[in-house]
Structure formats: structure tokens, C-alpha cells
């Protein structure tokens, strides 16, 4: 039984991947471009050392964003507002981090804490509105995204803007004690020396720890049990003593706290301040990664890596006269494909289970009849 569930988890995403690559190939063929050439170029470029480091760095915030979304998905709570939550959180964290001077590890911890509190607070609004006023969280989080973009733009230009030189507009720089080191020395132990400017960010370690924490929270804790119960059967969960309103608020806040960490790998490992062009889009892509990874801690790792690979390797395509947007087609179809494929495969598995049970029951019955005779 266990092995079949594992099969479902692997077959569905694979089928979706094959399907989406097929769709993308058709789109390319329709415009007279050889898909094999495009995919080969992507693979060669995407597997160089620098690309692999870049992919790892891209995947980390995507993975964190996916976890933020997935916590909510587990109880059918849709936090579409990760984008706004992490941008606001990164802005506040950058500002607060530049204000204080603390010992190295404490400083980083302080910045992360600020980010989590801000993200959590912004997400709380959506939870509150759902519980008190019955506004569906999809609508409220989307609205809060737009409000958050405006608010962060306003705060950035009028309140948090630091003393910067030249044309760069940014918050003040975080002191060195608040930076996270590069992992390149560790790569050196394995004999890998990437080119200058290509650095593996150490937030990776925190992301891995978060992944383990997420898995334990969902699968091994009381809260996780309530969470999944509320998702599968809210009425039964309530009957067994789970307060749905409290659950919504708590889940939203946990989701927001994780979302707050999304921007931290770039902030602490690369920018060290919040510039006007701070990395965007992780929140929206995180939704896709969560859907693709089926909210599973390990599944989302693969999904985030795939996403990182697609984004990185698409950079070569424009140089080869292939529209790099083909990647967005792959991303879009694979997400839609995987939700459909999962439904189909699990329905097939269900039917097989029913049939197997019926066969076993029939065998048992005929065996019983013989005994009686």
C-alpha cells in the first residue's frame, strides 16, 4: 500500500513534466524553432558550476516561499499574499538591521526575527478579516499584496531611505556583523572553485533546517495534526475540539512568519541593504512550487530546484535566438498538469485499491463458504 502511494507521488509530477515539455516543444515547433536544440542548450548552460550555484541560490527563497504557502494549503487556507509579506518584511528587516550593531550571530538573528514578525503581522490582517468579517483570504491577501507594494514604496522613499552615494537609492547598509557568509570555502573542500562573483549563500543551511522543521511541524506535532484534520474534514476537526477560527489565525501567522524569511537569503547574502530593485516574484513563484511539490517538504525541494534550473537556463536562450519565455510556458503547464495528473493518478490508484479489496473480500467469502460446507 505504502509503495503505491509513493508511486502516485512520483508518477504524477513526471507525467506533468513530460506533458509540459511536450506543450513547450509544440509551441516552439509552431514558430519554426527546433525544441531539441533549445533544450540541449539549456542543459549545457544550466549544468555549469556557476549555474548550479546560481540555481541553488535561486531555489532557496523559492523553497521558503513554497513552505509559507504550503502550511496554509494543508488546511485549505490560501495565502496568496506571500509576495507582499516578504517584501514588507525585507524592507523593515533591512532598515532595522542597519540601525543596530550587535555581535555577529545575534545581529543576524535579530534581523530574521524582525522579518518574521513583520511578515506574520501583515498576514495576520488577512486571518483576522477572514475570522471576523468572513472575507475570503484569496481576495484579502491579493488586496493586501497591492497595498503592501504601495506601502513599501512609500516607506522606502519617505521614511527608510538611507544615506547612499550616487544614483543608488537604498536603505542604509547593514553592518558586517549582520551579513551571512558565503559557503564557497566549503565548496573548496570538495575541490570546487567557482569563478569570482559566484557565491553560494549560506542561508541555504537555514532553509534546510526550515524544511526539516516544516516536516516535523506538519507530520509530527499536535498543531500539524489539527492542521491536516482541518484541511481534510473541517467539521470533524471542529467536533474533535479544534477551534477553526484560532486555527485560521495561527496558520496565517505561521505562514506569514515563514514568508518573512523569503527575502532574507538575498538581503543578508547579497544586497546587505534594501535597494529599489530588490528581488521580486518569489512569492508568486512560491505558490507554483508548493503546488508542484504537493506541499511536501522533500517534494518542494525538487520543485524549487526545477524552477531555479528553468529560470537560470533560460538566460542562454535569448542569446541563441530562442524566446526565453518558453520557460514560462513550461512552468505554467507543469503546475496545471501536476494538479490534474495527481487527481487522475490517485483516482486510478483508488479504483485499484477498491478492486483489490473486493477481490480479497470475495476470496475470503468463498474460503468461508468452503469451511462452512
Amino acid at each position: 500500500m505504502k509503495s503505491r502511494r509513493w508511486l502516485v507521488a512520483v508518477v504524477a509530477p513526471l507525467a506533468a513534466m513530460v506533458f509540459s515539455v511536450g506543450v513547450a516543444s509544440l509551441a516552439l515547433i509552431a514558430f519554426d524553432i527546433d525544441p531539441l536544440f533549445a533544450f540541449k542548450e539549456m542543459w549545457t548552460f544550466g549544468t555549469s558550476t556557476e549555474s548550479l550555484i546560481n540555481i541553488a541560490n535561486r531555489s532557496v527563497p523559492l523553497y521558503v516561499a513554497a513552505m509559507a504557502v504550503a502550511v496554509g494549503f494543508k488546511m485549505n487556507l490560501f495565502n496568496i499574499g506571500v509576495e507582499g509579506q516578504y517584501l514588507l518584511a525585507a524592507l523593515f528587516a533591512a532598515w532595522a538591521g542597519a540601525l543596530v550593531a550587535l555581535p555577529a550571530v545575534l545581529h543576524v538573528a535579530f534581523i530574521l526575527l524582525v522579518a518574521m514578525v513583520v511578515g506574520s503581522g501583515w498576514a495576520w490582517i488577512a486571518g483576522f478579516l477572514k475570522v471576523k468579517r468572513g472575507i475570503h483570504e484569496v481576495i484579502s491577501t491579493i488586496m493586501l499584496n497591492f497595498i503592501g507594494f504601495s506601502l513599501s514604496a512609500y516607506l522606502f522613499l519617505n521614511v527608510f531611505r538611507g544615506e547612499t552615494e550616487g544614483l543608488i537609492v537604498a536603505t542604509g547598509q547593514i553592518p558586517k556583523s549582520g551579513w551571512m557568509p558565503s559557503l564557497n570555502p566549503v565548496l573548496g573542500w570538495f575541490g570546487v572553485t567557482p569563478r569570482r562573483g559566484s557565491e553560494l549563500q549560506s542561508f541555504l543551511i537555514i532553509a534546510i533546517a526550515l524544511g526539516i522543521g516544516y516536516h516535523l511541524l506538519v507530520k509530527r506535532s499536535r498543531f500539524g495534526f489539527d492542521l491536516r484534520a482541518s484541511g481534510i474534514n473541517p467539521a470533524a476537526a471542529q467536533a474533535s475540539g479544534v477551534d477553526p477560527k484560532r486555527m485560521i489565525i495561527r496558520t496565517m501567522m505561521i505562514s506569514g512568519a515563514i514568508a518573512g524569511l523569503v527575502g532574507m537569503s538575498v538581503l543578508l547574502g547579497f544586497f546587505h541593504q534594501y535597494p529599489q530593485d530588490f528581488s521580486r516574484g518569489y512569492g508568486f513563484n512560491g505558490i507554483a512550487v508548493a503546488l508542484l511539490g504537493r506541499n511536501h517538504a522533500a517534494g518542494m525541494v525538487f520543485a524549487a530546484l526545477l524552477w531555479g534550473f528553468l529560470e537560470r537556463s533560460s538566460l542562454i536562450l535569448d542569446l541563441r535566438d530562442v524566446p526565453s519565455e518558453i520557460v514560462t510556458i513550461i512552468q505554467g503547464t507543469v503546475v496545471l498538469g501536476v494538479v490534474v495528473a495527481y487527481e487522475v493518478v490517485s483516482r486510478l490508484a483508488e479504483r485499484q485499491t477498491v478492486r483489490a479489496a473486493a477481490r480479497a473480500a470475495a476470496a475470503l467469502e468463498s474460503g468461508g463458504a468452503q469451511e462452512a460446507a
Binding site: F78, V138, I139, F146, Y154, P323, I329, G332, V344
Partner: protein
């Protein structure tokens, strides 16, 4: 005798909505008189409000057809994005009416995908909708890179300029031409008189009767059409039965799956029409992310309007009005803050007298915040003005009465042959 008389008189519902509209104008007139923010009731604001309300209305009506058939459609935004792309492409290639047709078709294609996922494969409606939004954005970007990038003025995020939809002025009330003869502009004349209340009302009416595009007319006509189709035809009854109790509908021989397909397809087409409207009436070209959450605001209008076409229209007009003030500068936004503040105070007093002290307290506190904002923000920053439509949507949904009733089986997974 009495029956005839009552039939000739306007129905209670109509007279009540006229009363609401008049009192809204009255409140605005008072605010205009007090703050001098003439723009609040100018023809420019009213016409912009209508123009901005239409995409929201189309998304809302789109949501209505899907949810009345029991399918939640979060993918409206993506379908609208498809509408903007195909609307621009159609108009660019063949002319504006082709843009409308292709915009509708583009939205409907994504509607079809949503229908296949949710109806045939019983995928969770919200998951499918979210996936559709991602897919639509990516697909349109790919199409832009193929078609628009090589053109002058085009790029991966925008199309070259396209032909916009023609507009007309209504004869007699807004100075339109009648067989080549220029009729008088009565409302315009009244608006220029600066009479309290009368000129305000005339300004609003002048705004919605002058410089109106044919597409706007078509879009507004879809509201009574939806009422007729959904509530006065057997087809509409069947569609709604699928949203209320598909299992009962199935037992009576309604082809539930097919009806759901119709609902979602129409939903996609309407959202696509809203997207085409953004291109053909508002902007004159396709620009990436120009829908800016209108699909979701449309869902807000649907909820605000209690899943009824006329209610959706009200919601869309309200959100469109809030949106239009964005372009009218800080004075107008401040005046709006004052309006909202006073309105909240009135609401709080009413709740207090209805013996609901907690609600009154919450609204009183909100009113205080808004009025404080009015007093403190002598200059409203641009970034916050951009946020007004979203803030208004949230505020309205938070304050509006909660005696709403959505279709009973909205969002339910339905499979043929199962019992509820």
C-alpha cells in the same frame, strides 16, 4: 385595477435603488460644497468611474456565471490577462471589434482549461484557478515575445498601439449628433451652472452619457441580459440548480457537467471581454500586468453584490469610482476620505441605536482613523493613492453587511453518479 396600477408604477426595488443613488449624490454634493473638491462629481470623474468599473463588472459577471454553476473561479485574473493580449492582437491585426471577439475567445479558452480541470477532473477549484493565473501570465508573455517584440513600439511586455473603440455622445442630454445635426448639451449646461446638488447630479449623468464607447454600452447591457438569462429562462434555472444542489439537479435529469462547462466558459469569455475592454477603451495597447488585480476585485464585487447581477453592478461602480479618484489628485482623495469618515460615523450611530455596541465601537474607531487621516494627510503621497482601489475593496467588504448567501454548492467537488 390595482394590479395594473402597481405594474405601471416602478417596482419597490427600482425606486429604492433610485433613492440610494440620489442620496449618494447628495452626500457627495455636501462634501463638494464643503471641501471645494469639484472633481468629486465632475463629468470627468463620473466617466472615468464608469470606464474603470466595466472590467470589474465583467470579471464580476464572469464570476457570477461560474459560481452560480457551482465552480469557484479564481482564474478570472488569468482569463482577463488573456483577454487583454488577444484583444490587443485582434485590434492590431483586424480592428477593434475583432479585438473584442478574440478577447472573448482568449478568455474562454482559459475558461475551458479551468472547466476541464475542475469539472472533468474534479481538481480543487482554487488550486486550478491559481494555476491558471500562472499559466496565463506565462503564455501571454511567450506570445508577446514572438509577436510584439519584433515590431516598433512593441516588446515582450507591451504591444504596439492599437485602434481603440469608437465613442459616442448621447443626443440631447450630452450634445450628441443626430443625423448630422448637433443636439443641445443639456446636462453639460446644467453642470456648468454650479447649482448645489443639481449640478453635481448633472455632472455625474453627463459623465456616463457623453464620450461613451459602444463596448461600454454592450457591457452594461449584459447586466439585464444576465438577469434575464439566469432568472427567466429554463436554461438559467438549470445552471443555478447546479450551483445549489447538483445531486438533486442530476436526479431531475439536468446535465450537470455540461451546465458547469457552460457556466465556466461564459465566465472566461466575460473576463476576456473585460480584458479586451482595458485595451480597447482604456489604454489603447496591451501592457503586461495591466489588469492589476481587476479579476480579483471583480470577485470582491461579486461577493459585495451577493451573487446577483445588479449587486455586482453596484459593487463594480463603487470600486470603479474609488479607482477613478486615483487620477484626480490628492484633493479629491482627501475629500473621499472625509466622505468615508462621515459615512462611518453615521453607520456607527445607526449600529449604536440598533443596540449593537461592539459593531458601533469598531466602526467608530475606523471612522476616527479615517478622519484622522483626512486631518493629517494634507498631502496624500502618490504611492498611497495607487493603493486606493485595493483599500476600498477591502474596507467595503469588511464593513458591508454580512447577510450574504452564496450558492449552496459553490466550490463543491461534484462527480457524476455520486450522492451529496
Amino acid at each position: 385595477m390595482t394590479a395594473v396600477a402597481t405594474r405601471l408604477l416602478p417596482s419597490r426595488r427600482t425606486s429604492r435603488s433610485v433613492l440610494y443613488a440620489l442620496s449618494a449624490v447628495l452626500v457627495l454634493a455636501i462634501v463638494v460644497a464643503y471641501t471645494g473638491a469639484d472633481e468629486l462629481t465632475s463629468r470627468g470623474t463620473a466617466s472615468a468611474a464608469l470606464r474603470l468599473a466595466i472590467p470589474i463588472l465583467m470579471a464580476g459577471l464572469g464570476g457570477l456565471f461560474a459560481e452560480r454553476a457551482g465552480v469557484v473561479n479564481i482564474g478570472l485574473e488569468g482569463m482577463m490577462i488573456a483577454g487583454t493580449w488577444f484583444g490587443a492582437w485582434g485590434s492590431w491585426q483586424f480592428g477593434p471589434w475583432w479585438g473584442v471577439a478574440l478577447g472573448v475567445a482568449g478568455g474562454a479558452v482559459f475558461g475551458l482549461i479551468h472547466a476541464v480541470a475542475t469539472v472533468t477532473f474534479a481538481v480543487d477549484h482554487i488550486v486550478s484557478g491559481v494555476a491558471i493565473n500562472i499559466l496565463a501570465g506565462g503564455a501571454m508573455r511567450f506570445l508577446s515575445s514572438i509577436t510584439y517584440t519584433p515590431e516598433t513600439g512593441g516588446s515582450v511586455v507591451q504591444s504596439p498601439g492599437v485602434t481603440k473603440m469608437d465613442t459616442f455622445n448621447t443626443p440631447f442630454v450630452a450634445g450628441g449628433n443626430l443625423f448630422g445635426w448637433k443636439s443641445p448639451d443639456l446636462l453639460g449646461w446644467l453642470e456648468d451652472r454650479d447649482w448645489f446638488f443639481v449640478s453635481d447630479g448633472a455632472g455625474v449623468l453627463r459623465g456616463v452619457t457623453g464620450e461613451v464607447s459602444w463596448l461600454t454600452l454592450l457591457a452594461v447591457a449584459l447586466v439585464p441580459l444576465s438577469v434575464f438569462v439566469l432568472w427567466r429562462t429554463a436554461w438559467g434555472l438549470r445552471l443555478r440548480s447546479c450551483g445549489e444542489h447538483p445531486w438533486a439537479a442530476e436526479s431531475l435529469g439536468v446535465p450537470v457537467l455540461r451546465m458547469k462547462y457552460y457556466g465556466v466558459l461564459i465566465s472566461g469569455g466575460l473576463a476576456g471581454l473585460g480584458g479586451a475592454f482595458i485595451v480597447l477603451v482604456q489604454q489603447g495597447l496591451y501592457r503586461e500586468a495591466s489588469t492589476a488585480g481587476r479579476g480579483f476585485i471583480g470577485l470582491g464585487a461579486l461577493i459585495f453584490g451577493n451573487w446577483m447581477p445588479a449587486g455586482v453592478l453596484n459593487g463594480a461602480l463603487l470600486f470603479g469610482f474609488g479607482d477613478s479618484l486615483r487620477f484626480r489628485g490628492a484633493v479629491t482623495v482627501r475629500a473621499l476620505l472625509l466622505t468615508i469618515g462621515v459615512g462611518l460615523v453615521a453607520l456607527a450611530v445607526w449600529r449604536w441605536r440598533r443596540k449593537r455596541p461592539r459593531a458601533a465601537g469598531v466602526q467608530g474607531a475606523l471612522a476616527l482613523m479615517v478622519l484622522l487621516g483626512y486631518a493629517l494627510l494634507t498631502e496624500v503621497p502618490d504611492q498611497l493613492i495607487t493603493a486606493t482601489p485595493y483599500l476600498i475593496t477591502l474596507l467595503v467588504l469588511a464593513i458591508a453587511t454580512q447577510s450574504l448567501r452564496m450558492p449552496a454548492a459553490d466550490g463543491a467537488r461534484y462527480r457524476k453518479g455520486e450522492t451529496g
